[in-house]
Amino acid sequence: GAGVSQTPSNKVTEKGKYVELRCDPISGHTALYWYRQSLGQGPEFLIYFQGTGAADDSGLPNDRFFAVRPEGSVSTLKIQRTERGDSAVYLCASSPGTPGADTQYFGPGTRLTVL
């Protein structure tokens, strides 16, 4: 079956611009996660959705970052006034969201470069 997909695969933008990154989870998965992986580091948690609501956004670095999941499926991560330090690979993962089924399946990521 289809896995988690993310678009675009690469995004180059200029400092100060607005960007949107999209994630399509595995069909039927109610839990969706965003992580950020900086060069040479492990991924770091940003935000978690259960259904349509953001259950935990404690990993968002500041108020320039925002994410939505309006219909409980596709999610969009939005970054305002981008800075060079936002350059990283943004990873999306989904899981069934049921007790005991906590394995997360990752998409290929979006590589964001802020010039």
């Binding site: 988690v4 839990a31 996660y33 992580y35 040479g40 580091q41 492990g42 991924p43 770091e44 948690f45 978690y48 259960q50 259950a55 935990d56 990993g59 990873l91 993962a93 899981s95 005991g100 906590d102 394995t103 997360q104 399946y105 990752f106 998409g107 290929p108 990521g109």
Partner: protein, 114 residues
């Protein structure tokens, strides 16, 4: 708060020899633990998962990991390395009290020499 420490940032092995990747974790309760692999320019792939059913966990591609609660360790091993095992490996702990969000170790990059 949970944390994961991967004790080696780089490991170099010869093809056909054993691989050992070391991981220690910190968790306030019985954790779910994972190993993921990331090949260059590819997504994260689950190797194996521990969820308290058995302390020795077998994964894909001949990898296995042993959970040792007394040592708070979850080391990953493979008896015989293959060239295709060259990749970055992440030890990961799941926070069940916070929607299963994952905390990753810093990663271990494996180089396999012919």
């Amino acid at each position: 708060a949970q944390s994961v420490t991967q004790l080696d940032s780089h490991v170099s092995v010869s093809e056909g020899t054993p691989v050992l990747l070391r991981c220690n974790y910190s968790s306030s309760y019985s954790p779910s633990l994972f190993w993921y692999v990331q090949h260059p320019n590819k997504g994260l792939q689950l190797l194996l998962k521990y969820t308290s059913a058995a302390t020795l966990v077998k994964g894909i591609n001949g990898f296995e990991a042993e959970f040792k609660k007394s040592e708070t360790s979850f080391h990953l091993t493979k008896p015989s390395a293959h060239m295709s095992d060259a990749a970055e490996y992440f030890c990961v702990v799941s926070d069940m009290a916070a929607g299963n969000k994952l905390t990753f170790g810093g990663g271990t990059r494996v180089l396999v020499k012919p």
